[in-house]
Amino acid sequence: MNALVPLVVTIPLLGAAIALIFGQRPRVQIFVSLISLTLVTAIAAVLLVAVDQTGTVTVNVGGWAPPWGIVLVVDRLSAIMLLVSALMLLGVLIFAIGQGIVDDDNETPVSIFHPAYLVLSAGLFDAFVAGDLFNMYVGFEMLLAASYVLLTLGGTGARIRAGVTYIVISLMSSLLFVGAIALIYGATGTVTIALISERVRELPMGVQAILCAALLLGFAVKAAVFPLSFWLPDSYPTAPAPVTAVFAGLLTKVGVYAIIRTDTVMFVDVPLRIPLMVVAFFTLLVGIMGAVMQADIKRLLSFTLVSHIGYMIFGIAIGGDIALTATIFYVVHHIVVQTTLFLATGLVERVGGSTSISRLGGLLKAAPFVAVLFFLGALNLGGIPPFSGFLGKIGLFQAGVEEGSWLSYVLIAAGAATSLLTLYALARVWNMAFWRSRGEVEGYQSPLLESLAESPEDSGTVATKQTSRLMVGATTGMVGLTLLLTVFAGPIFGYAERAAAQVENVENYISAVFPEGSP
């Protein structure tokens, strides 16, 4: 079992290397990528079952025991993150392959897409299994470096501009992260997470707070937590549809995952409840307000992405088993739904030739199946029952009510408002893009469109393109996955509950890393 853990990183890396060597043979690249991610998905599934049954798995890389060597840790939380991300990456890859086959133009130069995509996957997986803070940083760097490449794919003016924002901000967050690691190493003399957890508690609270805050700031930029979130809608939406889908679904969640680990493992004693609640409040509302004023669907979704991070921060802030259970479920739900919606929007863009609701129309008639896919995703994101978004929200609200402070109630109210505004923004998209007929679009006047802002990178309406079966199939599969999250909400919540209990139990984590006691 232990041997499987490093494979989740090495397989995609090896795949990336092979894809690079066969840079001129797209078919080989596609084959390698598919095989790599399928293998990782299978491994992640096996790990999930194994970890759930027998407990946390740790691997001392190279046989070097922590804290000197690097330790990889897979507990229930890591395992579910691995599995969900692997599934998303695989689904989006299939979509991208479908798009590449249809297009065959220079928007997605195949030869660089696959290696970068696989390195991104490897980085993501590494961040989830890292039991070593510096190694987590390396994982972040891998996925970020790959994301720079993927974001600027094709090198159009808009993408370069978005890329500049994204790269500079990401470098800043990495700088904060690595700075925090240096501080933590300075104070505790280790970068092994389990040992940090122990030693940090011996430091004065003031120092703990400083170290914790320094680390969280870096993660908060990545997770797009208010007020460090404004960059996101300026960068994500310009990438090609599948790339945006992966970014939206997964990259912010790595930040959330890291925040969970910071709060529950590394800095157990630091009181983060109130500060996190305050930022969660603003993240929710300011984010969704951004979504309300967007005419461009991709930008709109990017703002909802930021906003809904607030739900997760809220859950982390409350803490405790119930809230963490709901948070873990919500993270899983949100990864799947955001990815799916961006893919559906990718289909919309191809069918309608634009992503701006002021110019789209008649999609229900033109592409009824795409409409169904988009509608299901939108309802789910808006937290409409019976979908998983609603279930996650109930969990968070229940935890908030049980916590019972007035701040919790304020957050619940903000959460409900966010849900309503999400629905408002998405229903407006539906009204305009799907219901409104094509013929009405010209010179259309409506109070609903008055305050909307077009994307600064708006490129007008372009020719519609074909959608391949593979693209629609991949999106359908993902929508199917969101429905499964609802149907099997019971078992998934059960798993999330066990994962939360495990995350909460720090001593369990430490003894898994140091079976013979910490040095």
Partner: protein, 998 residues
């Protein structure tokens, strides 16, 4: 019950497909399901009457206490009968109402059918969360059904409005639902009602739930969505907006009333708003000319009436409420179906254009008369029976001293007078014969079968009225669940009681009001509308839009510089505050370890300031380089030659890369537009530096244990087989990190290359046609560039392979000779560094960098042709091979049964190189070496060679045509609004690039 819902789910998914074959007859087929559910429910009646309830529970999400729990008691039974019964009738009616060619028929049928199932679920759910789920699904289905005529703007707007209003209420209610279920400790509705908790939390929760209920049931101030929802096809209005969905709020209040009617605020809100709604709705109804709107406002009014009675909280009121609920569902859906028939037949619903319908359709007139009679409360219909008992119940409470009894009595009596008036006006409007000129001439005779549905409902209304005493036995268990004794019963004739006189008075006054309709109309025009919630809705949405726009524009106005500033300001504020208030300053304080540190630090600091200050890009790069070499010095003084060597090589390569890029940028960065910005940024920068320094001091000052590095050298030697601890750490102890980092190098190198080659094509050539197939990456193109002729044998005569290919003006013989002499030794040394790295300064990274530097000089001396000759391999392949070696050696160890990246060693004495211990780590290090060489090669080819080539082309293009470089047309968006540095630089003039070309 779960089985019924499953059938509903499956059939509704199948409906669109069935509709393709069956066309409008799909309604007849699917109507069998609610009909079956109706019969099943009816058969359960006996058991419910005797046992009180039937329940069913399936586990779903125990963590949320959410289960598929169903419970059918009397109230649920009554409502289930209504929703399935009316649902069946409406679906059958649809078969006639729609033609075969109706667009979106399958979709419509599926939604309407699914709605019937959802309502069935809503009224039978016992888990309050489950009930809420059905509740919200009805909102969504209502949205889809109201917007059925997708081509009509008002129908889309009305759909959105209904969705937002009911979802707003729903979300408010959700908070209440969760609060009450947490307080009770159960999500079971029956348990929540039985618990009857009190206290401020319960009051808040119940009030929040009431908000949900009144928004769903269109009570003031949320009533406005219902008339607007009349944009839906008539069957939808009949079902959703008369019989079923709007009853959900009434149902919930009726459900909670036994436990919570005495809670403070309950009666005040429900009776107050209910009476108000009844009056407002009826008053507005009197003013309408559209028959459907008469009914819509009438429904609003009647919902207010229902809210008063079911919220009243006495057993008698509960019984009367149940009766009115039943009566209203039947007569109101009948009337809507009638309006649908008239609309189809006459082509209009405006009664001013209708004439003589009574003579043309006598049967329809009779059906309408029966329904109207029930609505107005004329015996012997069910509506009359219900109203009698309502007034009886209010009187009973009023006599017992409850002030709400009087309020409710007077309010609903006045409302009932108006009801009689608009009922009469509706009938007169629809069926009277007029002589006005504007009467519509259009007339299609409707199919007789369409009359069956409304006819059946009308007959049921009569039968239930006549046999109303029999209803008592079935309905009594519900009122008996309240505290207190049930005195009243349903009957046509109670004797000469006060309620009877009230009823007679109401009928008389209502008739008088109808008689004086012209005067009433004049009065209505004179009075301004009291509440205009619809305008409120629009101003709220507009305000939300506007505020959102303001907030967002504020947050995003500055683009990247502002985002960066925000991050840094947050950093300074948060960490600065924590450092200031934490009382954590170290007590002992060492200024420096050795005096050189001070000098180096000073130089580095000055260089940093200079880099920030200067506007000359090249100077800035060099100054940044100074800080890098400062690090080299620090490493060296700390006794880390290996790090110093690597850092020096890295700095050199970095500067080279920068120079390659800078030659394409203007020499000076542009000045900030405002002096304030400069000052502000200086403050932020200095603050960040100070805070970072302070917290570093604090963190290091509070060190409690020795860092792990103390033991590393020893471990490296005995277990890692190497004296060079840095290298052992890189390739063994922390090889996992190295593996990740080289993949970063790989991806960055390829990324830069792809960007330059691809964007070179996309930007520069634009639509002038791509010369190479798009999938071919530039790297490959360099090798196959048609511009480059293969080096002729004659070229061999020069010092460098490419010597003959370069314009003599750009050649430097001195450089060529030097490179010629140095290149091969440098490569040898780099390989030496690679292999001795484990024990002495060196390693794959340093070795690779040295080889890279050698390539840099080769390029500088001979240009891109020279580079191609020096390494005739695709850089991508080099990078890929390096990564394969590194990762492969990592995975390899797995096959020997040990942990990943475990190392194995083979030691031997080798001439020249001396004692060497070659292990798997060496293979790993070779991988690193290859990756680094590949990286440098990629950078040289893209930032160097490709940029040269693009430049050459640009020069040629400039000479041949006077065309504007497309690069200058790249819009300068507000990303850099405050800084005005173009992201994609303007093409510099030909002169300044040629200068530093080589």
């Amino acid at each position: 019950m779960a089985t019924i819902l499953t059938i509903f789910l499956i059939v509704s998914v199948a409906t669109p497909f069935l509709a393709r074959f069956l066309k409008n007859h799909v309604f007849t087929v699917v109507a069998l399901v609610p009909a079956g559910a109706f019969i099943w429910t009816l058969l359960q009646g006996e058991q419910i009457r005797t046992h009180g309830e039937i329940t069913e529970t399936i586990r779903w999400v125990p963590q949320l206490d959410l289960a598929l729990a169903f419970r059918m008691d009397t109230l649920a039974w009554l409502l289930a009968l209504v929703v399935t019964g009316v649902g069946t009738v409406v679906l059958l009616y649809c078969t006639q109402y729609f033609t075969k060619r109706e667009p979106g028929l399958g979709r419509f049928a599926a939604f309407l059918f699914a709605f019937a199932g959802t309502m069935f679920g809503l009224v039978t759910a016992d888990d309050i969360l489950l009930m809420f789920m059905f509740w919200e699904i009805t909102s969504v289905l209502s949205y889809l059904l109201i917007g059925h005529y997708t081509g009509k703007k008002e129908s889309r707007g009305a759909a959105l409005q209904a969705l937002l209003v009911t979802t707003f209420g729903g979300l408010v209610m959700l908070i209440g639902v969760i609060m009450i279920s947490v307080q009770v400790g159960s999500t079971s509705l029956s348990a929540i009602v039985a618990a009857g908790v009190t206290g401020p939390m319960a009051v808040t929760a119940i009030l929040l739930i009431i908000v949900g209920a009144i928004s769903k049931s269109a009570i003031v101030p949320f009533h406005f969505w219902l008339p607007a929802a009349m944009a839906a096809p008539t069957p939808v209005s009949a079902y959703l907006h008369a019989a079923a969905m709007v009853k959900a709020g009434i149902y919930l209040i009726a459900r909670l009333a036994p436990g919570y009617a005495d809670l403070p605020g309950w009666k005040l809100v429900l009776i107050g708003l209910g009476v108000w709604t009844m009056l407002v709705g009826a008053w507005r109804s009197l003013r309408q000319y559209d028959l459907k709107l008469v009914l819509a406002y009438g429904t609003v009014s009647q919902l207010g009436f229902l809210m008063v009675i079911v919220g009243f909280g006495t057993p008698d009121a509960a019984l009367a409420g149940a009766a009115l609920l039943l009566a209203h569902a039947i007569y109101k859906s009948t009337l809507f179906l009638v309006v649908g028939i008239i609309d189809h037949a006459a082509g209009t619903r405006d009664w001013r254009q209708l004439s003589g319908l009574g003579r043309k359709m006598p049967v329809l007139a009779v059906i309408t008369a029966l329904a109207i009679a029930s609505m107005a409360g004329i015996p012997p219909l069910l509506g009359f029976v219900a109203k009698e008992s309502i007034f009886g119940a209010f009187l009973q409470a009023a006599e017992a001293g409850d002030p709400y009894g009087w309020i409710a009595l007077i309010g609903t009596a006045v409302g009932s007078i108006l009801t009689v008036a608009y009922s009469a006006r509706f009938f007169w409007g629809a069926f009277a014969t007029r002589t006005a000129a504007c009467v519509s001439t259009e007339w299609h005779k409707p199919p007789t079968a369409i009359l069956i549905g409304p006819g059946v409902l009308a007959v049921v209304s009569v039968l239930l009225g006549i046999f109303s005493p029999a209803l008592n036995a079935w309905l009594d268990p519900y009122p008996e669940s309240f505290d207190g004794h049930l005195e009243g019963h349903l009957a046509l004739w109670h004797g000469f009681e006060p309620a009877l006189f009230i009823s007679i008075a109401i009928l008389g006054l209502g008739a008088a009001l109808f008689w004086k309709k012209t005067q009433v109309a004049r009065l209505q025009e004179a009075l301004p509308p009291l509440v205009d919630s619809s305008r409120g809705y629009w101003s709220v949405t507009r305000a939300v839009d506007k505020i959102s726009a303001k907030v967002t524009i504020f947050g995003q106005r500055g683009g990247l510089p502002q985002y960066l500033a925000t991050i840094l300001v947050v950093f300074v504020l948060v960490l600065g505050t924590l450092a200031a208030i934490g009382n954590v300053w170290p007590t002992t304080f060492r200024l420096y370890d050795y005096p050189q540190q001070v000098v180096i630090a000073l130089v580095m600091a000055l260089a940093t300031l200079g880099a920030a200050w200067t506007r000359k890009r090249m100077a800035a790069v060099l100054l940044v380089g100074v800080t890098g070499f400062g690090m080299v010095a620090l490493f060296a003084f700390h006794g880390a030659p290996d790090l110093a060597l690597t850092q020096a090589l890295v700095e050199t390569i970095t500067i080279v890369a920068f120079v390659l890029v800078l030659r394409r940028l203007p020499g000076n960065s542009q000045k900030l537009t405002k002096r304030v910005h400069r000052g502000r940024r200086a403050v932020i920068a200095i603050g960040t530096g100070v805070v970072m320094g302070a917290i570093a001091l604090i963190a290091l000052g509070s060190r409690i244990t020795d860092p792990i590095s103390a033991q590393l050298p020893e471990m490296a030697y005995y277990e890692g087989h190497g004296k060079n601890v840095v290298n052992v750490a890189l390739v063994d102890i922390r090889a996992w990190d190295t593996m990740g980092e080289i993949s970063v190098l790989v991806v960055v190198a390829t990324g830069i290359a792809s960007l330059l080659f691809v964007s070179g094509r996309a930007d520069k050539k634009g639509r002038r046609g791509l010369r190479r197939p798009a999938t071919a990456l530039g790297r490959r193109s360099v090798l196959s560039d048609p511009d480059i002729q293969p080096a002729t044998p004659g070229a061999r005569q020069s010092w460098l392979v490419s010597g003959g290919k370069i314009a003599s003006a750009n050649r430097s013989i001195l450089l060529e000779v030097l490179v010629r002499l140095m290149f091969h030794p440098a490569i040898v040394v780099s390989i030496f560094l690679l292999f001795v790295g484990h024990n002495s300064p060196g390693g794959g990274f340093a070795g690779g960098l040295l080889a890279g530097l050698a390539l840099v000089f080769r390029y500088l001396a001979g240009g891109r042709y020279e580079l191609r000759e020096a390494v005739p391999i695709d850089a991508g392949k080099l990078l890929g091979a390096g990564l394969v070696l590194a990762v492969g050696s990592a995975i390899g160890s797995l096959f020997f049964g040990s942990e990943i990246l475990s190392s194995a060693y083979l030691s031997a004495d080798i001439p020249v190189l001396g004692y060497i211990s070659i292990g798997t780590t060496t293979i790993f290090d070779i991988g690193v070496y290859l990756v680094v060489v590949g990286l440098v090669l990629d950078i040289l080819r893209s930032l160097g060679g490709e940029v040269d080539r693009q430049q050459d082309e640009a020069d040629i293009a400039e000479e041949s045509t006077d065309e504007f470089s497309p690069r200058q047309q790249v819009p300068n968006t507000d990303l850099w609004a405050t800084q005005r540095v173009p992201i994609v630089p303007d093409t510099p003039s030909a002169t300044d690039t040629r200068e530093d070309n080589r």
